[in-house]
């Protein structure tokens, strides 16, 4: 009888303790026109709670920064980017969350001498229209007529100075677009910004072992529970892969950091043997051809998303002086896959990089 009682006690104890054991839980969130993948090592109860909050974060910025659709009818928010773009010149009350992300975008515009600018949505629309055109998607280069039409449309749009004003009065937040040449587009920033917010939540709640993969270009990593040095290996995709090349050109080892890549290997079209990609220079209104890809390792995923977009249009000389100036305040590392297929790691500091 004693033996049976002991066995039952042990089994009951195992069942009880198994509910408290940490395991890896994986979740998928559909937001910002991509799939956000989050992996958390925690008890099931905690993981479910944390993922619910992370999902809310992504959906908040998905709705607020959407420039294709109005807010859902039952939304608790006041307005979004789509609605704001339809009302140039008007003073519009906005939620604090939208004010905060736009204020951050303005900070980065100043930091990059205007290379990052969320007000060039009209120019981006013209390029995206051709990148997503049926002719190109069916595998044909764009025609001369299509190119000339693109050039004409681009010439008609001016990049605006002081494109929008943010202000607050009596605890309320407002925005005013300068004129109808201004169209806000947070596509190059919102995903990284939301990822940063998700990371800040996990850090505050002392979740150490996690992975957030926000689409194909932005990752935030905590500590790898399965590795002695707690680092995750991250493959760097070859942006100019030729027939006999491998998929990856290198690997970095990372923990407690975000990794963001901007490259010309996705979203582009060909014309006259030149690849016209989606990272548009605010200075020339055209995509520049200094690099195939830039990968940034830094603690702030929002900063990385904005800055990799901006520096893609900076010449190597300008980039060098810019990095020198900015690094005193901001901590980051960059791996550059140059247009001539050389790899530049001069802006790497601590992160372990291995060429393949």
């Amino acid at each position: 009888m004693k033996k049976i009682f002991s066995i039952v006690t042990v089994i009951a104890l195992i069942i009880t303790l198994s509910a408290c054991t940490k395991d890896t839980h994986r979740f998928y969130i559909s937001a910002m026109d991509t799939i956000i993948e989050a992996e958390v090592r925690d008890t099931k109860k905690n993981a479910n709670k944390n993922i619910k909050v992370i999902e809310d974060i992504y959906l908040t910025y998905h709705h607020l920064t959407d420039n294709f659709r109005d807010l859902p009818i039952d939304s608790a928010f006041k307005t979004n980017i789509y609605a704001i773009n339809k009302r140039p010149g008007e003073k519009i009350e906005i939620d604090f969350e939208l004010y905060e992300i736009l204020a951050k975008a303005e900070e980065y515009r100043i930091l990059t001498d205007g290379y990052f600018d969320v007000s060039i949505g009209k120019i981006i629309d013209v390029w995206k229209e051709v990148i997503q055109s049926e002719d190109w998607l069916e595998g044909n280069d764009i025609t001369e007529a299509e190119w000339e039409e693109l050039v004409r449309k681009i010439d008609e749009i001016e990049v605006q100075e002081n494109a929008y004003t943010l202000f607050h009065e009596d605890g309320k937040y407002y925005i005013k677009l300068k004129n109808d040449q201004v169209k806000l587009d947070l596509g190059a920033f919102a995903k990284g910004y939301a990822t940063q917010k998700a990371y800040e939540y996990l850090e505050k709640n002392k979740v150490k072992n996690f992975i957030i993969v926000a689409g194909g270009s932005s990752i935030y990593l905590g500590e790898n529970a399965k590795s002695e040095d707690k680092q995750f290996p991250v493959g760097l995709i070859n942006p100019n892969r030729q027939k006999n090349d491998g998929r990856l050109y290198g690997e970095i080892k990372v923990k407690n950091n975000s990794i963001t890549s901007s490259g010309n290997n996705e979203q582009f079209f060909m014309y006259g043997d030149i690849k016209y990609h989606h990272l548009i220079s605010t200075k020339t209104k055209y995509p520049m051809h200094y690099y195939h890809s830039l990968t940034m390792v830094t603690k702030d995923a929002g900063f990385a998303d904005a800055i990799t977009t901006a520096i893609f249009s900076m010449s190597p000389e300008f980039l060098e002086s810019w990095v020198e100036r900015v690094r005193e305040t901001y901590d980051f590392e960059i791996i550059i896959f140059n247009y001539d297929n050389t790899i530049d790691t001069r802006y790497m500091v601590d992160t372990e990089f291995e060429l393949r």
Binding site: R26, I35, E37, E39, V213, I219, L221, I259, T260, T295
Partner: protein, 160 residues
């Protein structure tokens, strides 16, 4: 020669049965616990070469490598390449190494994004062991005479 007493024989029998049950129990526990948890992806291999990856999260199938086969098999089976991804039937068709009258046979692997599972639904081999394995969400599916196997990966391969 010393003969065993009936008591010793009985003891031996009990020992053998106990060991047999123990090993069976260990195997069952292993199958139930070793492949617990959700898989991020599964890969289909021909020999040591990875041919196809199925990403359950992103819900896509990626043909990583193509099998080098004699031209006659394209006409014989009506597929333009191996592995062939049959999008309509959520399955992947490969050419196995098992031959019937000198002709290599097909191996059909189905996938289910929602259930994060794989199953070998059609193959020809002496005992059809791998197609009898049923649907798997974690334990590997091995088609030895055909030289094809399916392996699940819990960890995501990180790339930017």
């Amino acid at each position: 020669m010393k003969t065993k007493s009936p008591l010793q024989k009985k003891r031996d029998l009990i020992l053998v049965i106990t060991l047999f049950l123990l090993m069976g129990g260990v195997f069952l526990v292993y199958r139930m616990t070793a492949f617990r948890g959700e898989s991020a992806s599964a890969s289909v291999y021909y020999g040591t070469e990875k041919m196809v990856t199925v990403d359950f999260g992103l819900q896509n199938v990626n043909i990583v490598s193509k099998q080098a086969v004699e031209n006659k098999y394209y006409d014989l089976y009506g597929y333009n390449q191996f592995p062939y991804h049959d999008v309509e039937k959520n399955s992947i068709v490969l050419l196995g190494d098992y031959t019937v009258r000198g002709v290599r046979q097909l191996v059909v692997v189905s996938y289910d994004f929602e259930k994060k599972s794989m199953q070998i639904i059609d193959e020809k081999s002496p005992n059809n062991i791998c197609s009898k394995e049923g649907e798997s969400t974690g334990f590997p599916l091995i088609c030895l005479p055909n030289n094809i196997y399916v392996r699940f990966e819990q960890e995501r391969q990180l790339e930017v």
